[in-house]
Symmetry: C2
Subunit: 336 residues, 2 copies
Amino acid sequence: MGKRVTIKDVAKALNVSVSTVSRALKDNPEIGLKTRELVKKTAKNMNYQPNPIAVALKTSKSNTIGVIVPKIVNTFYASVVEGIEEVADKHGYQIFVSSTNEDFEKEKKYVDAYINNRADGVILSLSRETTDFEHIKHLQELNVPTVLFDRTTKNLKIPRVVTDDAKAADKAVTHLINGGAKRIAMLSGPKHLLVGRNRTRGYKKALEKAGIPFDEELVIHSDATVKETLKTTKELLENKKVDAIFCINDDLAIGAITAAKELGLRIPEDLAVVGFYNSKRSRYMNPSISTIDLNPYQVGVLTAGVLFEQITSGEVDNEKEIVVPSHLIIRESSEK
Amino acid sequence: MGKRVTIKDVAKALNVSVSTVSRALKDNPEIGLKTRELVKKTAKNMNYQPNPIAVALKTSKSNTIGVIVPKIVNTFYASVVEGIEEVADKHGYQIFVSSTNEDFEKEKKYVDAYINNRADGVILSLSRETTDFEHIKHLQELNVPTVLFDRTTKNLKIPRVVTDDAKAADKAVTHLINGGAKRIAMLSGPKHLLVGRNRTRGYKKALEKAGIPFDEELVIHSDATVKETLKTTKELLENKKVDAIFCINDDLAIGAITAAKELGLRIPEDLAVVGFYNSKRSRYMNPSISTIDLNPYQVGVLTAGVLFEQITSGEVDNEKEIVVPSHLIIRESSEK
DNA sequence: CTGAAAGCGCTAACAT
DNA sequence: ATGTTAGCGCTTTCAG
């Protein structure tokens, strides 16, 4: 079976030395043009494939980028990965993706794996559990180009690419206000998550600009189970008399809409809703409400851009922070 | 900065040879128990980390599994990946994931990458474009354990794990029939896709069992754009008088439901719908209709299982085919 | 029980 | 312009 052909084999076939072959293959001008061509031709004929492992051992570079995400089933992250792939490919790099499943130990494990496998760069988004950052610092100590995205931390000086969560929320809520809403609730996730906090900031800001007082009771934190969402939404509609709801994600948006309909309300005449655009699917989920698109693909493209800048220049700007703008997709029917 | 500590360093520190260290580290009984312990202890103290690249170069094994999927943003594939990760982790292997984005050239490229990086196994699902299978045959020639899942082909003798698409469709349609439906339409995707063909088979079978004649006109192929779905569904409802719709995916299901509601129909009293469960999100998307769960996570677990069987035993059963059962999730409200 | 030494495939001084 | 050689970090005969 497949005995792999090495540089040595082609050297032997041509009666030249391995170094000649090695150099010819990388177009080293020290080698005569005709030998260069000859070597390249026979290498191809013999179906020679360089062994990246040997190269990596020798050079300590692997031509690969490690990408670590908290949850690959989340389409936001999957889309980011696509963006990264796109630009890595352009640079002639491959990416290897790992999902920590929000597990800190796995995150450490994968970081180590990428270090040991001499990844030329690492892109990662912190797991929910991560509060200790030694593994990230380790990457920095080893001078492995690293950039964080989305789930980052203030406890680290490191380049990062984030979404404009606060601004996005502001846009969404302002849109609702412009549509005539007066009492706007916010359906949020678990209280401790940074996303929620950032979006709450935007929510408050939009209210403030419109002169609407902030009412703590209209911000609901939940785990986004169907049942819970239905219950809290009904509560909001029946007892708090809200006329619009800003939802932190599409699952919540669907829950809100479903609850509203069960109460006989019409969307958006009786209740305006804004959700988030997490995937193409959103279009189907709520064809009649406006959504915020966080541009995950763009996040990936930009993150990879920062990384390659670092790889290419060899310089790190640990203060670098790129904020990716979000995009409000307005559906006609969402205006009251 | 991070000078990495090697086996040599710990050998020097203990005044023993590198081979002793190497052996001690892998608990070779030829080495005295106390030396073994000593070596292991100091290795840990010195923070020694084996260099997997050197190991791979020496042994031609990398302790990694390559996974190639057509589209990682598709939650079906993302979930499969989670399943694979789970069992790979148990075996002490890492996985590296690549998404071809349905591009045949990328598929070849990634296969080559995994070959060259000495992946100990490859799991892959063919891209839509793939009609040439030389790269897969190449894997087999090189004795790289390989298993296909989901998107497979009859043109290859190779272990595979697939979903029971036909059976799933049969279950779904039978469920509709049991609920009282008489004229059941099927919303399908592009005509040439295997999934659609398999599901059509199940659809026909269910009708046949119930003695309902098959009507070609009730099977609609579309690209699943929102507009198109709405249009075709309305057409079905108004002119074909269907009382139930079997949808090949959740996007179509949402489209169908939306169209029905726009016509003033109630779900499921006036129209019963069955969709597919592609993610947790499905629960939100159509809380009132039944769905088919294809168990992607299970597909991943089983696929990895087949692969590790092969890796462990060194034997390939190219006839092996595992069909993963799907699961019909019935929601009360979907019964008429 | 332990050490010496070869070699995996490649790159890059250092010759010539 | 090309060849020789050392060595990346590790495993594994083969010798003691």
